[in-house]
């Protein structure tokens, strides 16, 4: 597959903008300090990257992965349990969590290969539920609904990561997000990404060109599962308690992620950053309003999607297009852009 990456040119404009944004993100919590802002930004980054991973499947292959929280769960428990029983470090746990999730992704993928995008995604809903119920029942191992307490990250190169200092965790997730994003970005900008888009457009039309559609789908799915698992592992060591409830690892969490991906904009990866900033941020800003907060949250979802039907990213792009067409550039229609 190496040749598949051939057409990839790295420092293009978009990538630079993203880097700048991330650098800015790195700065804010350190400048503001305290424990609250870093905690909120940790959430923002977590939901951003989960949104981007969701979009990696949705925007490129039309797989609406309703089971994404299940992969998060696999990663979280995968890491937490191996730290507990095999005494690996949480850092290795990140990898183990990723692999645990990737294996489940692989099995799910192989089982659902023949399905169309939306079915794969919906099937994962049951993978998620099966996993959640199984964890809940295997109490001897997982402590089930009583909750598994998980230790924090161990010191690395002499740097401690006390959970009481969220900023340290913020830096961990920032690093993870940058790596993950770079990988996703490289993939979607390469030939593989092109094939993804072709499959999204017309599966049969792609396969008669000699392209093994299923392999690409599987690749996409397993890569996404792996990273979701990594962040699940991060989540486990960050939050310190795992419970297999729907709010944590079930449909509710999936809906949160899905919303961020859609509000950000499909097929853009980076759109989720805007989605997470806005939606997570708004929840915090409106905290004092109590139950009205969620009403406003819901209303703004309705509003956003009515005003910017293709998400924040779509709106920005349209703005950009209007700008460039006013500048006299090509006036033809682009119904859809890419990364």
């Amino acid at each position: 597959m190496t040749s598949l990456f051939k057409n990839f040119r790295f420092p293009d404009r978009r990538a630079l903008v993203i880097c700048a944004l991330l650098a800015g993100l790195a700065a804010i919590p350190s400048l503001v300090g305290g424990r609250y802002i870093p905690a909120v930004f940790t959430s923002i980054l977590l939901f951003f990257i989960l949104g981007a991973l969701f979009d990696f499947m949705l925007g490129y292959l039309r797989i609406v992965n309703f089971g994404i929280a299940g992969f998060l769960c696999a990663g979280a428990y995968g890491s937490a349990l191996s730290v507990q029983y095999f005494h690996i470090t949480p850092w290795t746990g990140l990898l183990v969590g990723g692999l645990a999730s990737a294996v489940i992704g692989l099995i799910t993928g192989v089982l659902t290969l023949r399905l169309r995008g939306i079915y794969i995604g919906l099937t994962t809903l049951f993978v998620m539920e099966t996993l959640r119920f199984a964890i809940s029942n295997a109490r001897e191992v997982t402590r089930g609904a009583s909750g598994l307490t998980v230790g924090g990250f161990t010191p690395l190169f002499g740097m401690p990561f006390p959970r009481s200092e969220p900023i340290t965790y913020y830096y961990i997730i920032l690093a993870l997000v940058i790596v993950t994003y770079a990988v996703l970005y490289a993939i979607v900008r390469s030939r593989i990404g092109l094939v993804f888009k072709a499959i999204r457009d017309d599966e049969l039309g792609t396969s008669v060109l000699g392209i093994h559609v299923v392999r690409y789908k599987l690749f996409n799915f397993v890569v996404a599962s792996f990273f979701v698992g990594v962040f699940g592992a991060f989540y486990a060591h960050y939050i310190g308690i795992l419970v297999p409830t729907a709010e944590e690892f079930g449909i509710q969490r999936t809906v949160e992620i899905l919303t961020i991906a859609y509000v950000g904009g499909r097929g853009t990866l980076w759109g989720s950053l805007l989605g997470a900033l806005f939606l997570v941020g708004m929840q915090e800003v409106l905290r004092d309003l109590q139950e009205w907060r969620l009403v406003i949250y819901g209303l703004s979802l309705i509003l956003i999607i009515t005003v910017f039907p293709s998400g924040f990213a779509g709106a920005l792009r349209q703005l950009g297009e209007r700008f460039s067409s006013r500048a006299g550039k090509g006036a033809h229609i682009s119904t859809k852009g890419d990364a």
Binding site: S325, A331, H332, I333
Partner: protein, 236 residues
């Protein structure tokens, strides 16, 4: 004139017009042909007449009334039938159900609707054999036949056809053009777009040639019949 199009301007992207001021008219009891190369804007013109696209300028009149703001769903009530480009059967409905829906505009007159459907089955042996089959499973040409039959059920006054012969065997192409002649004989106005310039020319009373969004040649079809090859070579 049944249909009159004046100075019509239409486009998709902002700033770029696909039709750049088209004039065209269709009379009752006559066949009007429209030919042109791929991308000339033929389908765009028909889509605009039928309300699927909004014009940027000009006028469309049907029976001397402005129909520029027509919704596609009002076509049938006006007595306009439209064969869309591409396939337009309802794939999951049976052939029969597809035909029944062709009578939607007069669905309240049950007897008439029923009769119209039965007549269609009498006319077409292909459809009769596939009566209870889902339309999506028909072959490409069979779907075209179904579309043609469905279209004529409510005795339209204006028939707009986008490539009716597409995918039909020569024999059936022949039948389609006979059908067009029949509609004309029944008093309808027909506007037909087709790649088969020869057939269009032979069937039409009046011919338009569209080129890059403008009508470049127009005239009684008879005046072209001997130089159709030349026409095609030069303008299409």
């Amino acid at each position: 004139m049944l249909l009159q199009v004046r100075e019509l301007k239409v486009g998709y992207a902002s700033g770029a017009d696909v039709l750049r001021g088209v004039d065209l008219s269709v009379g009752a009891s006559s066949v009007t042909g429209l030919i042109g190369a791929n991308g000339a804007g033929k389908s765009t013109l028909l889509k605009t007449i039928c309300g699927f696209l909004r014009r940027r300028g000009g006028a469309i009149a049907f029976d001397a009334a402005d129909i520029g703001k027509l919704q596609p769903s009002q076509l049938a009530a006006h007595g306009i039938a439209y064969l869309m480009e591409g396939h337009s059967v309802f794939p999951g409905l049976t052939v029969e159900e597809n035909l029944i829906l062709g009578t939607w505009a007069f669905r309240k007159e049950r007897a008439r609707a029923k009769q119209a459907v039965e007549r269609a089955f009498e006319l077409s042996s292909v459809l009769r054999a596939k009566r209870k089959v889902k339309a999506g499973l028909l072959s490409g040409g069979q779907q075209r036949i179904l579309e043609m039959e469905r279209l004529t059920l409510n005795d339209p006054r204006l028939v707009i056809l986008d490539e009716p012969s597409l995918g039909l065997s020569p024999k059936l192409v022949h039948e389609v053009f006979e059908r067009i002649a029949q509609m004309k004989a029944d008093g309808a106005g027909v506007l037909v777009v087709d790649q088969s310039a020869r057939h269009v020319c032979a069937a039409s009373d009046h011919l338009y040639v569209l080129r890059l969004g403008e009508i470049c040649i127009e005239g009684p079809a008879a005046s072209f019949s001997d130089r159709i090859d030349e026409l095609v070579r030069n303008f299409i």
